[in-house]
Point group: C2
Chain length 201, copies 2
């Protein structure tokens, strides 16, 4: 990692440093959301944050690492959830997972970065790898670890597939009547399906 | 629609015309697959096909119309399938739909254009509208028309969501173990789920 350029006159003092880091992450989220992974550049993020590119590299490293950091920050609250999802009663884990995933898409604050991740992951293998790490390691493996069934990981992935596909058709492609259907009606239909994937015979 | 430019010396003779049209469609499929909807231009398609842009406009109209034509050609065999899916015995429609959708993704000849459509639809609202028309009008509505249940369209869409999500995680994001799992194992798990969506209580 390179040091900040002379233009910034060395590393900013500690108090300012947190603000700058956050400003870069905010700018990164915006840029990745608007342009997708491929068209976003570290230079563009730096410009949007009002800093030098070298400072972005200094804090985060490569574009892939900035992307991963931006994604992790956007999902910090969400990524704390898997424990609660996995640790509650096993016979209602399907409903908890369904509400969690659809809740991320219903909330504009998480929908925008999610959409950016999906767009980037579909278009770019590096971004797909980040997405894969995020959903596999953070969410799916932890739920699979709680299940006492054969093929736990495959089951969790097929459950996730139901939710990912619903999100695609409802929030991204916007197919009707699904796009306008009441959330509770969808949860009522999907929770038993997801539960069946996870713990069914 | 504009007439071909003078450079082409008027409309090509009838025999050549079909070949040219096919060549433009092949080029369009390639361009949309490689670049996605947004980055593809009529000029680029024309160049790849070795014809003048005006000829592309002459045959197909706007970029959106070229896209729709290229998609329709890529899926011509697939788009004949909904009748067979919908018209067979209702108690095995889940398995037929599951095999049909995963079959499109297993076959490299349809996977490439499908991936192009998904990429384009996720990134661009116009392409999303084309995708929506394709899957709603051609496939989902026709299956829904056969179902004698309340909420037939919503059911078909949630069934489709299971399959779309599975395709995303298996063929696009490539999450393991789903990406490498045996197809028959996945069909065995999904067919009853899709059937349940379509005809379950």
């Amino acid at each position: 990692m390179s040091e900040p350029t002379a233009r910034r006159r060395g590393r900013p003092p500690r108090a300012e440093s947190g603000d700058t880091r956050d400003r870069i992450l905010d700018a990164a989220r915006e840029e990745f959301s608007e342009r997708g992974y491929e068209k976003t550049s570290v230079r563009g993020i730096a410009k949007a944050a009002g800093v030098d590119s070298a400072l972005v590299h200094h804090y985060f490293g490569t574009k892939e690492q900035v992307f991963e950091a931006a994604v992790a920050v956007a999902f910090a609250p969400a990524l704390a959830a898997p424990d609660a999802i996995a640790e509650g009663p096993l016979d209602s884990v399907g409903e908890r997972l369904t509400r969690f995933v659809l809740g991320l898409w219903e909330n504009p604050a998480t929908r925008t970065p999610l959409l950016a991740i999906v767009r980037s992951a579909v278009n770019n293998d590096t971004a797909a790898a980040v997405f894969r790490r995020l959903i596999s390691a953070q969410l799916l493996r932890r739920i699979a670890g709680r299940l006492d069934v054969p093929d736990a990981e495959l089951r969790v992935e097929l459950a996730a597939a139901q939710l990912v596909g619903t999100a695609m058709l409802r929030y991204v492609i916007k197919v009707e009547p699904l796009a306008s259907a009441d959330l509770e009606r969808i949860v009522a239909r999907l929770a038993p399906v997801v539960q069946g994937h996870l713990t069914g015979g």
